[in-house]
Symmetry: C2
Subunit: 111 residues, 2 copies
């Protein structure tokens, strides 16, 4: 659809919900959370990060968390209040779709 949060953006926001991360760490975290089912490609990741920055759903940290033992190439990101709202709205939309499937008998009660 036109107005909803793209899948990659949603997963990135979920990954940043409880911890500031850099791009590569997001790829790994999303893969871990989805048990390897979703491996964000670099093309999708960095393009989506740029879009999220422009839309104000995430912000880049000016100071890296641990300057001593850290790869200088890394760029860290933090979710914004607006990002939290966007992710929550998208989750509600997805929950509605699941509800629709359940109401149609397409889903076993718990799965």
């Amino acid at each position: 659809m036109h107005s909803d949060l793209p899948a990659a953006a949603f997963h990135i926001l979920v990954s940043l919900a409880n911890e500031d991360r850099h791009g590569y760490a997001i790829i790994q975290d999303v893969a871990a959370r989805t048990k390897g089912k979703l491996k964000l490609s670099p093309g999708t990741l960095y393009r989506t990060i740029q879009r999220l920055l422009e839309q104000g759903l995430i912000a880049e940290l000016r100071h890296r968390p641990d300057p001593e033992f850290d790869d200088e190439r890394r760029r860290y990101y933090r979710i914004t209040a607006q990002g939290v709202r966007a992710a929550r709205d998208e989750a509600k939309r997805l929950a509605q779709m699941v509800k629709l499937a359940r109401a149609s008998g397409l889903m076993p009660k718990e799965a």
Copy 2:
């Protein structure tokens, strides 16, 4: 993603889960189920129907349900066993995404 069911395809399958319908009726049914939030455009609808037919997720009925009082232009479709499986798998994937959002504290318990 590459392998998952597009949103329009999912909604069409849900709409056909309990009743055979023709294209235009699907548009109205999806709009009703989503409380007007999702109005499938004709471009999306008829293209997606063609794709679903090719993939064997739906089938066109050879005989229209009620030949007497019916618009002859209508083409009726029925979901296949394969279509049911595809919709169920997609619903599970969506439910997993919602679960991920909840686990991250992005969602209020029930919403």
